[in-house]
Structure formats: structure tokens, C-alpha cells
């Protein structure tokens, strides 16, 4: 049974290897894809395919068509064995700790395969064992001294350990070896945030965005926050990054809200109100937009105006044609509370 299981894994590895040189099992390919920018919310897809394992550099994209027919043959073999061996099926869809176990078996048979050491390092990292990952990466580096994947993964492991300085060094090496790797830039930016170097981090975040084929709201948020952290003098720049994100992605609540939050944090309440008005569709409803405006007015000390906006938002909600009689929205409840909790207006004559 063990021999059959091993053979199945080997067949799976071969199938994947034919499709994606440099990889192990199909799961490994998936992990490699995740590695290209999935960590902590980054997901990059570089125009060059940066991040996929490929002989020579991180920058090449694997051609699937070239080896497709052979891969199909191997896959058929894999499926046949997967059906015959229920236990083997999990090989492609394992939990991280199980993947560590499976890779350990693979490594016992192919200890000179640097890819397997990296794969197991990734699995260790995902399973919350960065120290074990570092050990495997040392073995990988001994076998493949110039591979860019090694410093990239090592940087990620060191970051997970909170060791930002060596992480920064490793990620700098990774970038030197593969300058178009968006994830390496994103990870180094985080290392530099941890090191209190937000200006340099912002430059890396910018590079990561520029290298990503499909930038995400998260990437613009991180870039903007790095600039904001660089000091009051760069708030305008941080806001411009958010605008750039909106221009790239279209309306995005998180980016609009970040701008409002940033402006309020710096006392630019009128600018925040204008931002809210400039993005009327970001809030999902006119009432939600009014309520957010009311929050800003209240923060600005314009209490009576805030209450007027809350009241108007509430009236809109209560008059909404689609409002379900059996369910008040959380927004509605929030506005009720805001109107009850608002400071009393000043006593007059």
C-alpha cells in the first residue's frame, strides 16, 4: 500500500511537473500561486507572471499548452490511483500539516530536490512554524544557491517571526534576483513598515502595485497608509494614492472610507464631507452616505447639522420602498442610537 501511495504521489508530481516545471504536486502549484502574493491579503498577478516557479528567474510564465497532452496522460494515471486509494486522494488537497508529512516522505526519497525543500518550507510557514521553514530553506539554498525563491520565502518566514531587519535583507536579495516580483516588494514594504521606514515602504508598495496585473483595494490601502505614516507632510500624497486606486478599480467603499478617515484624523472635516459627496455611490444608499456625513459633522463639532443629517437619513430609510417591514437595517439602528446619544444642543434664551 505504501508503495502504491508513493507511486501515486510520484505520478501526481510528474503530472504537475510537466505542466509547471519547477513544481511538485498539483497542490504545490497551487501553493506556488498563493505564494505569488497571497500572504496577508496581498494577491498579485504580475504581468510577467512573477512568482511562478520557473527555471532561471521568477519572471517567466509557464506555457501549459506545450506539455498539456503529456500532463493529461499522467493525470489520468493519478486519477486512477486516487480512485483506487482513498488515502492518496488527499494528497492534492491536504491541510498544511498533512502536506508537511507528505513532503517529508517525498524528501526522504529525493533529498536533493530543492523544490521540495521550498515546498515544505511553505507548508511549515502556512502551518505556523516559521523556524522549521527557515531550516528547510537553508537546505534549499545549499542545493540551489542562486534561486530567488529562497530569500523570498526566508523573508516571509523572518517576518512571521517578527525579525524585520533580516527579513528586509533577505527580501532585498530576492528583489535583486527577481526585480519584477510584486510579492517581494510587498513583503519588503511590510518589513520596512515594521522597521519604521514608511517612506521606503511606500516606494515598495508602489512598485508592487505597478507590477501587479490586477491590483487590489488592499494594495492601495497599504500604500496610502505607508505614506500617511511617513508624516503629516505626505497626507496629500496618501490621499492621491487612494484616488489613484479609485481610478484604477472603480468605486470602492474601503478606499473612499479610508480617505474620509484620514482627513478626519487630520482635522480636514470639510474635505471629508466633500469626499463623501464626491462618491455618492460608495455607500450603498443615500441614507448611508448622509449618516456618514453626519458622523463627520459630529466629529467636527457641528452637532446641530449632524442631527439634521441623521434625521434626514432616518427619514429616507423609513420611506425606502424596499425596506422590509420585518427588519430594520443596522444603519437604521445606528442612526437611532446616534440621535439619542448626541450631546444636547445648547440651551438658549
Amino acid at each position: 500500500m505504501a508503495a502504491m501511495l508513493s507511486f501515486t504521489r510520484e505520478a501526481a508530481w510528474l503530472a504537475s511537473w510537466e505542466q509547471h516545471p519547477g513544481l511538485g504536486t498539483r497542490e504545490r502549484r497551487s501553493r506556488a500561486l498563493r505564494r505569488t502574493g497571497r500572504r496577508h491579503g496581498m494577491e498579485f498577478r504580475s504581468p510577467s507572471g512573477a512568482g511562478a516557479f520557473h527555471d532561471g528567474s521568477l519572471g517567466g510564465r509557464v506555457s501549459r499548452n506545450r506539455v498539456y497532452s503529456m500532463a493529461i496522460r499522467f493525470r489520468t494515471l493519478v486519477i486512477l490511483f486516487a480512485v483506487a486509494l482513498p488515502g492518496a486522494e488527499a494528497g492534492a488537497h491536504m491541510a498544511p500539516h498533512a502536506r508537511v508529512d507528505a513532503l517529508t516522505l517525498d524528501l526522504a526519497r529525493r533529498p536533493d530536490d530543492w523544490r521540495l525543500w521550498i515546498e515544505r518550507a511553505q507548508a511549515y510557514l502556512e502551518d505556523g512554524h516559521p523556524t522549521a521553514a527557515l531550516s528547510d530553506l537553508d537546505r534549499a539554498e545549499a542545493l540551489a544557491p542562486r534561486r530567488p525563491e529562497v530569500p523570498l520565502e526566508r523573508g516571509a518566514a523572518l517576518l512571521a517571526l517578527g525579525l524585520a531587519t533580516p527579513a528586509d535583507d533577505e527580501l532585498t536579495t530576492a528583489i535583486e534576483r527577481a526585480p519584477s516580483d510584486a510579492e517581494a516588494h510587498g513583503l519588503r514594504a511590510r518589513a520596512r513598515i515594521a522597521l519604521g521606514r514608511p517612506r521606503e515602504a511606500a516606494a515598495d508598495f508602489q512598485r508592487a502595485v505597478e507590477l501587479s496585473e490586477r491590483p487590489s483595494p488592499d494594495q492601495f490601502l497599504e500604500w496610502s497608509r505607508a505614506l500617511a505614516a511617513a508624516g503629516a507632510g505626505r497626507i496629500d500624497e496618501a490621499l492621491r494614492v487612494l484616488e489613484r486606486g479609485l481610478a484604477t478599480l472603480g468605486e470602492s467603499f474601503a478606499l473612499v472610507e479610508e480617505g474620509v478617515r484620514l482627513e478626519c484624523a487630520h482635522g480636514a472635516y470639510q474635505a471629508a464631507l466633500e469626499r463623501i459627496e464626491r462618491h455618492p455611490t460608495a455607500w450603498g444608499s443615500s441614507a448611508a452616505r448622509r449618516a456618514r456625513g453626519a458622523d463627520v459633522l459630529r466629529a467636527a463639532g457641528r452637532e446641530i447639522e449632524a442631527q439634521a443629517e441623521y434625521s434626514a437619513a432616518l427619514a429616507e430609510l423609513e420611506a425606502a420602498p424596499h425596506r422590509h417591514a420585518a427588519r430594520a437595517s443596522s444603519l437604521e439602528n445606528r442612526i437611532h442610537i446616534a440621535l439619542r446619544q448626541g450631546p444636547p444642543v445648547a440651551a438658549g434664551p
Binding site: D218, G250, A282, E305, S311, A328, L331
Partner: protein
């Protein structure tokens, strides 16, 4: 890729060649091949379900008589439906060679009398059909300006009903479904037999839609071929799993294959990304999250968006879904795996606080279903009795349905969590998570039915047997006291703007002491207008635009404040002189 709004003429994607329009008066249209994707496993469709059959070639449209530059084109993927709203839908398909695009549709199968075209020449076609009526069945065909390529009677859809309406809703939900083969086929056919001619209104995929890496060919084999029939009739709303890889280049990964409402096209708050999105269907608000590639931290874009989206919805039901389950002891363990833990710690508290009802996940290749649960954000060993809103089985034929309160929307009223990751494989695990009522290592899918204030979920195994079920009922409106302040509002101020006296009308939901006063923009009270007990109903008062001393006040913006039992409503008053 064509992305063409109906009635807006043709558009061309960047870098795509456009063939010159051929005069309708020239030549004959040659062969147009009609291709409809078919079940590859030869499985029989259930009685009553429309059968697929290729139609003979048809020549339709204004290009009749012209030489057909797209002769030999066939549909190799789809048609499939995306992003349906009560008045619009996206129809997509792929052709064997680059062609232009045309969709024809109508309310009768044989009479597709409305059309929209795109002159962009590509293999990836995406046409937005607008101007539809809610809750209406339409038939459609796809093709080129020179003829129909696919459009048999199975090419039909029903638009969603008006948002907020209490129409019956049925969704078919599959998870980890992307391994083509006999299990996938039997799970699919079990549902088709179960639902019969009722079909479904929505089609949800919970991730790992195409094994092993989500490549184009794997999506073809794992999604577009085996689910060809559902995909052309029921709008697909997928989420992404860890096997749905992303790739460089065009038209080769999850994000390329699907058109998802990043900008609140179908309701909700715009996320700015197709990775996570929300939409409304009848009285249900669906929230699709991305547990695979997006930041799951509290300050990240997805969680920030989720808070706003859930806060804004007033839909009766809220159903959230993503790939990595917050609770599972199947082939994945929610006590040890970081993605699962992150969703439980960062997302579930928001769902609790903002009143979600049901969570659907996959990842573990099994079926697991919880009781009505709240506040459980730690390891499985930390479950306490206070977290069990209702630990019964929730079955109609068992302990009875779970009952949740209705207005006001109650935080932490409990959520049922399901794992449905066995739609093409099963995967073992200890299956002993303490929040679960049912844990089964058998293939199957979920059938969700919402009918007004009643929600039913059934786990339908691959043999067509309902192997588990539960019901959630929102208690009647009358059983829970309404918010007493609801309906208290300032109805109007006139005239706007005013040169002199102002009439203020307001509505009181119940009798009480009412104070009406005018304040300036700095919050200083300028004048008292009314102070006394008043009956419920609509009331009117008049302010003479003078201050407390009786002097006319200067032009400007003022605020009328009406107070009733600690509640306050405020409206702007503009005075001009």
C-alpha cells in the same frame, strides 16, 4: 473580451481587432454551426427537466445575405449567466474563433425579437442585456451578426424579482465541486432530479471550482462542461477557493471567466473588486467573501467593506459564503489552519453583530452543519453554553425550526454554519466539531429555499436523499415590539426657502410631550415654537421667523428640532430676507 451594455452600440476591448462591418446586401451567409455543450458522462436528465438538443443552423439578423466572415465558428463555452438583477443580466460565451457577438431574447421561446450586438471580434463574449422586467422568464440565443450559434429552448432565464419582495427563492449550492467525474455527475443529477422543472434561481459555487489549479482547461472540464445546463439557466455567483489559481495573461483564470458585481451592480455596497461582492435577490442579501486571496484582517479592505455592506442592508435575510470554513473537523481543521482561524476571528464577529443568518463554506470535503451559534471565535474547546442560541437540530421533523426574532434587527441572534465541500469528492477528517449537529463524509450539495420569513436548507446526497435539513423562521412581526421611535419624523418644512413664517409638520408615532425649537448653526437655541403634550399623528406648527424676544432674525441657515421622549429629529430651515 466584449463587455457591451445593451442598447449602447458596439464596443471594442483594448487591443482587440475589429473586422469591418460587412454590408448586409452582399452575398449569402454560409454555414453557422450550432453547438450546445452537453453532458459528457451520458447521464440521463430527470423527468420534467428540459432536455438539451442542438438546433439546426439558423440564419437570422440584419447580416443575412452578407458573406459570413465567421463561418465555422462554434460555441465552445457557455452560454452562461452572470450578475443578474431584476432588470439586467450578463450573458457570456466563448467561440472557437474570434467573432462579433449578438444576443437575441424574448418572452417566447420561438420569438426572440430583441437583440443587442457587439462588433468587437473576439473569442470571449460578454453582453449585458438591460431593460428587462423583474421576475420574468426570457429565452435567448447567442451568436454573431451572421447567425445564431446557440439558442435551444434550454437557453432561458428568469430575472430576479423586485428587491425586498417575498418571492420564493431556491439556490443550488455546491462546494469543492471542480473534479470532473462520477461523483460530480451524481451530485449534479441528484439535484436536477430533486428540483425537476422548478429549477433554481441562483447557483452558488463555494470555491475549488476546478481542480487542481483552476486553469482554463480545468475550468472547462470541471465547470463549463458538467454544469453547462444549469449555467445557461441559473445565474452563477461563485467564490474562489485555494485551488482556483490566478494566472498572468488574458482569459485564463477565475477572474477572467466570471463577471461579478464589484461595483454593487446587483445591490449592496461597492467593493471595488470581484474577489468579494454582495447582491440582493428578493428578500435575501447575499455576501460573497474571499477567504483565499484577500486581506482578512480587521483593518483590511474586505472587512471594512463587509461592515458597511451589512450595516446598509435592510433585507430580511443575510446569507454569507466563502471557501474556508470557520468551523470544521473534516479534511481541514478550523483549530489549526490559519485561513480558517482568521475568518472565524475577524469576520464571524461582524456577522454576529450585524445579524447574518446563514454561512456557507466548503474546503473540507464533507458536509458539516452547526446549530444556531453565536460568539464562538476561539478553538473548538472553548465552546460554552452561552454561545448556543439554540442547540437543537432545527429540523421540521425533529426538534422543530430555529426561531429568530424580527425587528429590531437583533445582534447575535445566531447563525447556522454549513460546510458543503463534498460536491465532487469526500475527504475524511474526525468530523467531530462540537458546534455541529450533523457531520457526514458523503457526496452531496445544498438546496436553499427561502419563502418569506422561512428559510430551509437541505443537504441532498448523491443518491438523491435528503440526508440533513434545518429550518430557520423569523418570528412574526407582531410577536416582537417594534421600535417605538419608528415613524417619528419631520415630514416637511415650507416654504423652502422662506422669507418669513415657516410651517413645520412632523409625525408622532405615539402621544407624548413634544418640544419644538429653532437653533442656529452653532447650536444656540433661537426660539421655542412648541412645548406640550400632543396626540399621535401628523402635527403642524408655525414659526414666525422671530427670535425669543420677538425680533425678526437675520437670513441664514437654521435648524428646527423636534423632541419626543428623548428622541430628536432635526431639519434644516433656510431663511432669506
Amino acid at each position: 473580451m466584449n463587455r457591451v451594455p445593451a442598447f449602447r452600440g458596439a464596443a471594442r476591448g483594448p487591443g482587440q481587432p475589429v473586422l469591418p462591418r460587412v454590408s448586409p446586401a452582399i452575398g449569402l451567409v454560409l454555414a453557422v454551426v450550432v453547438v450546445c455543450a452537453t453532458h459528457r458522462d451520458g447521464s440521463a436528465l430527470p423527468p420534467g427537466f428540459p432536455t438539451e438538443r442542438p438546433l439546426p443552423a439558423q440564419i437570422v439578423g440584419e447580416s443575412e445575405g452578407s458573406p459570413n466572415p465567421f463561418a465555422g465558428a462554434t460555441v465552445t463555452r457557455g452560454p452562461y449567466l452572470q450578475c443578474a438583477t431584476p432588470t439586467s443580466i450578463v450573458i457570456r460565451w466563448r467561440t472557437s474563433i474570434p467573432t462579433d457577438a449578438r444576443v437575441r431574447w424574448g418572452r417566447t421561446a420561438g420569438r426572440l425579437d430583441v437583440r443587442v450586438s457587439s462588433v468587437a471580434v473576439t473569442t470571449e463574449h460578454e453582453i449585458i442585456v438591460t431593460g428587462l422586467d423583474p421576475g420574468t422568464r426570457y429565452w435567448y440565443s447567442v451568436g454573431t451578426g451572421f447567425g445564431q450559434l446557440a439558442g435551444d429552448p434550454t437557453c432561458a432565464f428568469v430575472t430576479p424579482p423586485p428587491v425586498g419582495s417575498a418571492q420564493p427563492v431556491r439556490a443550488w449550492i455546491i462546494g469543492d465541486s471542480g473534479e470532473a467525474g462520477p461523483i460530480q455527475g451524481s451530485v449534479r443529477d441528484a439535484f436536477l432530479a430533486y428540483t425537476g422543472s422548478r429549477g433554481a434561481d441562483l447557483f452558488l459555487m463555494l470555491g475549488d471550482n476546478a481542480y487542481g489549479e483552476g486553469s482554463d482547461s480545468e475550468y472547462q472540464a470541471g465547470v463549463f462542461v458538467p454544469y453547462a445546463l444549469p449555467l445557461r439557466q441559473w445565474t452563477l455567483w461563485p467564490t474562489r477557493g485555494n485551488h482556483d489559481g490566478v494566472y498572468s495573461g488574458a482569459n485564463n483564470d477565475y477572474y477572467d471567466f466570471f463577471s461579478l458585481p464589484a461595483h454593487a451592480e446587483a445591490g449592496g455596497v461597492p467593493s471595488g473588486t470581484e474577489a468579494y461582492y454582495s447582491y440582493d435577490y428578493a428578500n435575501v442579501h447575499f455576501v460573497c467573501l474571499d477567504s483565499e486571496g484577500s486581506d482578512k484582517s480587521p483593518g483590511g479592505a474586505m472587512v471594512t467593506w463587509l461592515r458597511a455592506d451589512l450595516s446598509a442592508t435592510s433585507q430580511q435575510w443575510v446569507i454569507a459564503y466563502w471557501h474556508h470554513p470557520p468551523y470544521s473537523k473534516g479534511s481541514h481543521d478550523s483549530d489549526t489552519e490559519s485561513d480558517l482561524i482568521a475568518m472565524r476571528q475577524n469576520v464571524v464577529p461582524i456577522l454576529d453583530a450585524l445579524g447574518a443568518d446563514l454561512v456557507l463554506c466548503g474546503h473540507s470535503h464533507s458536509y458539516e452543519r452547526s446549530f444556531l451559534l453565536r460568539w464562538h471565535y476561539g478553538l473548538s474547546t472553548t465552546l460554552t453554553s452561552s454561545m448556543k442560541v439554540d442547540s437543537s437540530d432545527g429540523r421540521r421533523n425533529g426538534n422543530g425550526p430555529y426561531v429568530k426574532p424580527v425587528p429590531p434587527r437583533t445582534p447575535s441572534a445566531g447563525i447556522v454554519y454549513t460546510v458543503a465541500g463534498s460536491s465532487s469528492k469526500t475527504g475524511g477528517g474526525s468530523l467531530n466539531h462540537p458546534v455541529m449537529v450533523s457531520s457526514q463524509d458523503v457526496p452531496g450539495s445544498l438546496v436553499l429555499d427561502v419563502n418569506g420569513s422561512v428559510l430551509d436548507v437541505r443537504f441532498l446526497n448523491s443518491a438523491g436523499v435528503v440526508a440533513d435539513s434545518f429550518t430557520v423562521v423569523k418570528a412574526g412581526v407582531a410577536s416582537v415590539p417594534a421600535d417605538p421611535a419608528r415613524g417619528f419624523s419631520i415630514v416637511g418644512i415650507s416654504p423652502r426657502p422662506s422669507h418669513g413664517p415657516v410651517e413645520l409638520s412632523y409625525r408622532l408615532p405615539y402621544p407624548g410631550r413634544v418640544k419644538v425649537a429653532i437653533y442656529d448653526a452653532e447650536g444656540r437655541r433661537i426660539a421655542k415654537v412648541a412645548d406640550g403634550d400632543e396626540p399621535a399623528g401628523e402635527r403642524r406648527v408655525r414659526w414666525d421667523a422671530r427670535d425669543a424676544a420677538g425680533s425678526p432674525i437675520v437670513a441664514g441657515v437654521y435648524f428646527a428640532v423636534v423632541e419626543l421622549a428623548g428622541e430628536r429629529r432635526v431639519a434644516r430651515v433656510v431663511l432669506t430676507r
